[in-house]
Amino acid sequence: MNGEIVMDSVPSSVELMESPGNGYKGPSHAATTNACKLCTPLGATLAFKGVEGAIPFLHGSQGCATYMRRYIISHFREPMDIASSSLGEKNAIYGGGPNLKKGLLNAMQKYGASVVGVATTCLTETIGDDVARLLAEFRTEFGDLPLAEVVHVSTPSYNGTHMDGFHGAVKAMADQLCVEATPANGRVNLMPGLVSPADIRHLKEIVRAFGMEPIVLPDYSETLDGPALLEYENIPSGGTPLADIRSMGGSRASIELGRAISTQDTAGTSLASRFGVPLHRLGLPIGIRETDSFFKALKDITGRETPRDLALERGRYIDALVDGHKYVSGMRAVVYGEEDLCVGLTSFLAEIGVRPVLVATGARNRNLAAHIQAACGDVLREMPAVREGVDFFDIVEEAKTLAPDLLVGHSKGQRAAREWKIPLLRVGFPIHDRFGGQRQLCLGYRGAQELFDRLVNTVLEKKQNDSDVGYGYL
């Protein structure tokens, strides 16, 4: 039984397209300077954090968990507990199995976890721990206890980026938790990718407005953006319920966001091939056209028209574009960060009259140029230079030659923006030098509106500060 895979906005020829432009061969440095990516297990811990009752668990040395917690906490400003098997030297020689098992029991007993999401690290991948086998042993050895579910994903940090870890963990959850056919549930599976808690909340709101209850995987909209509490929760409330994940095979359709993963095996393809759930693969709904595609998919799935409130948001956004287009028209932007976000942001910038001149990611082999061509070809007269596998050294070196007047991406472009005295529109993860990154909305018409307002105001603020006159009306 094969589910139909609908490439709503992604042309199927995308794989065959050549990178546009200039025969650029990519950087040839042996050294990476100021990386534009994070390590693979970090993404997995974020994905696991979006499941109800789950605790992310790193099989490796203690430092990995602590460094990632610190990094993630600085963005979300929320507790981010990651358990660790805390391997020492002996374990590296004799294998990490005993620590893994002991750690799992502790995580279940003390944290009361109902799901433990185990991600490996370079240490355990290199010593060759067979986690699947260790988990099977664990279930046998402690079979008399009502054990929690354990999902595992292989995330050696020498392979890929945090986005591979994220998507890998989402797929692992679908593969390992949704294993039986379940009755039709009339719902829609939604795999949003690494977006903000505010984005997840808005996506849920949109799907509900079409009369359907989504199963969002992962859903850390509450676990990583929760209320002040009286009692500390070992595991924060919220997250995708385990029962929902188990029932994903019975959903009416799946929607997977992110053009760059649209050629990979994912949770969506797994559910399509095993349970025949039709899969809609779309770009992240950033800006008008990509959001239109998302809405069209929802219309197709539900048979409903766009609810008036949301249609009004679209109308107001277009009205705002008319009001504000001249403030940003012709600006030259450098976009960097995660591949899917890069595509979405480039598409957004292109359609408001900003000219993307360079789009860069630390990830490799993402076919990024082709995805950008597909998303922006109809509005851009000239394609930006598109780079994969680059770091901020490369980005800065190339950007210098392009006279940008705007940077768009996460916090780590701050040094360049400061040096060049140009604005940085902070979007994505991580945002370590501003407040409220977890509540930042980018998706949907409403998200586009917020992005546009922020961009215009950033430009106006700079204009006002730089001006000798300091006009009171702009």
């Binding site: 893994l100 976890a113 370079c122 240490l123 290199t126």
Partner: protein, 483 residues
């Protein structure tokens, strides 16, 4: 399944059985604590790893290249991570990695490392390079020492391997690896112009310019500072650090190993100091003065008197302003959980000047002796804890009903989630908390958090008052209502 799984997590006590002897309540039984253990698997330790220990100590050396040999994470998570300031070059604020890929792991990373060193040394012209080993390098068998030696010969600068494989212990082993690396530099510079009344400032990292505050006091006393180790650190300063007559060692673990090595190698004595609080800062300065009056009376005449004058002058500005803040803070309660236990001592004393009591105190890497001394200066009922985790810390915070938590970024969300004030006393701080001026800044920080009107709205303070239903709605109920 969800419910049954919860069943095995039914025990409510937040203390892991294996960790009971790493927690002590003063006044309850004889003092005994187990320390320097490996962290318990599955407990979310606040500790880091060997690499972290080395990286933290060497990081502020501003004109050295810091190259992390390994996959990208270790370098990415330590990029510009600390507020360690430099008065000159800022090479330390960049993040360099060999970003090992799968093929490197299979075939070895030595060639890539050599090439990376060549590129970066040519590009940045550093005075020296530190090459950090990570977990994986310890496993694939790259000969770091050989690659570094060859690179050093090619470029004519010291290229120093740091044996900091993450899994080979905890932060302490990382400190030791860093000290061993620095030892190779010490003793290679010209010391002919150094005054006999000279010191190295060790175990201070110039966060928010703190080394400069201490250096100013010492300079006013007539003492020359040879090297900040590693605050505002320079390779050439380290090379001539053996020319100092005395090492001032702050922070229980980080640089004490190097001080011992320098004592053994060059006969330089060291004193343990603390630049936090009031008594500890004054006492540290007096220790320096007394040392020189004793060892070099012909040069140090009147040094103790000059020091007393300096302390008096500083206190005359500080104390009245502290008194104002203290009026509001009197009787409030604090929790302290920091990396090194030595800092915890100073903080306990510092809080007394604010009229506040420390009711929870702990560290990631204290020794039994440290904790015994801590227990001796804290009030009965105080909880002393080694290598704590979020479950324990949150339970202790609630039990003791503290008003402020002093810790690092990993502890901040625990405190904030429960509606407790917070003061960042870790490497990321941007406000100087050392010296007498630092004591005032600390008091202001504590005051700004503790006295904020927002606490009246957090659940633990709203409880018992007549509040609207909205404040008690839990996330689960809210979700349930929507579905």
């Amino acid at each position: 399944m969800t419910n049954t799984a919860k069943a095995i997590g039914a025990e409510k006590a937040p203390i892991f059985e294996e960790r009971k002897d790493q927690i002590h309540r003063i006044g309850e039984g004889d003092f005994a604590m187990a320390c320097n253990r490996d962290s318990l698997a599955g407990a979310v330790s606040q500790r880091a790893c060997v690499f972290c220990g080395s990286r933290v100590v060497l990081y502020p050396i501003a004109d050295a290249l810091h190259l992390v040999h390994g996959p990208i994470g270790c370098a990415a998570y330590t990029w510009d991570i600390r507020g360690a300031l430099s008065s000159g070059p800022e090479l330390h604020r960049l993040s360099f990695s060999t970003d090992l890929q799968e093929l490197d792991v299979v075939f070895g990373g030595e060639k890539k490392l050599a090439k990376a060193l060549d590129e970066l040394i040519v590009r940045h012209e550093p005075k020296a390079a530190f090459v950090y080993s990570t977990c994986i390098v310890g496993l694939i068998g790259d000969d770091l020492a050989a690659v570094c030696k060859a690179a050093s010969a090619r470029h004519g600068i010291p290229v120093i391997p740091v044996q900091s494989e993450g899994f080979k212990g905890n932060k302490r082993e990382g400190y030791l690896a860093a000290c061993k690396a620095m030892r190779t530099l010490v003793g290679t510079g010209d010391v002919s112009s150094i005054s006999p009344l000279s010191v190295n400032i060790m175990g201070d990292f110039n966060l928010a310019g703190e080394t400069w505050i201490i250096k100013d006091y010492l300079t006013r006393m007539g003492i020359e500072v040879v090297a900040g180790i590693t605050g505002d650190g320079r390779v050439d300063d380290l090379r001539r650090a053996h020319g100092a007559s005395l090492n001032l060692v702050q922070c229980s673990g980080a640089t004490q190993d190097l001080a011992k090595m320098m004592r053994d190698d060059y006969g330089i004595p060291f004193v343990r100091v603390s630049w936090i609080g009031i008594e500890d800062v004054a006492e540290s300065l007096y220790d320096v003065a007394e040392h020189f009056e004793l060892t070099r009376p012909e040069l140090a005449a009147g040094l103790v008197d000059r020091t007393a004058a300096l302390v008096r002058e500083e206190l005359s500005t500080l104390m009245p302003r502290l008194a104002e803040l203290r009026r509001d803070l009197e009787g409030k309660k604090a929790a302290v959980y920091v990396g090194g236990s030595f800092k915890a001592f100073s903080l306990v004393k510092a809080f007394r000047h604010l009229g506040m009591e420390v009711v929870i105190v702990g560290s990631q890497t204290g020794t039994e002796e440290d904790y015994r001394e801590l227990a001796a200066i804290c009030a009965p009922g105080t909880i002393v804890v080694d290598d704590a985790n979020p479950l324990e810390l949150s339970a202790f915070i609630k039990e003791k009903d503290v008003d402020i938590f002093v810790g690092g970024v990993k502890e901040r969300p625990i405190a904030f989630k429960l509606g407790v004030g917070f003061c960042d006393h870790n490497h990321e701080r941007k406000i100087a908390l050392e010296g007498f001026v630092g004591m005032l800044n600390f008091a202001k920080e504590v005051h700004a958090s503790v006295m904020s009107p927002i606490w009246r709205f957090v659940p633990r303070r709203e409880t018992g008052r007549n509040v609207s239903d909205a404040s008690t709605a839990t996330g689960a109920e809210a979700t349930g209502a929507e579905v």
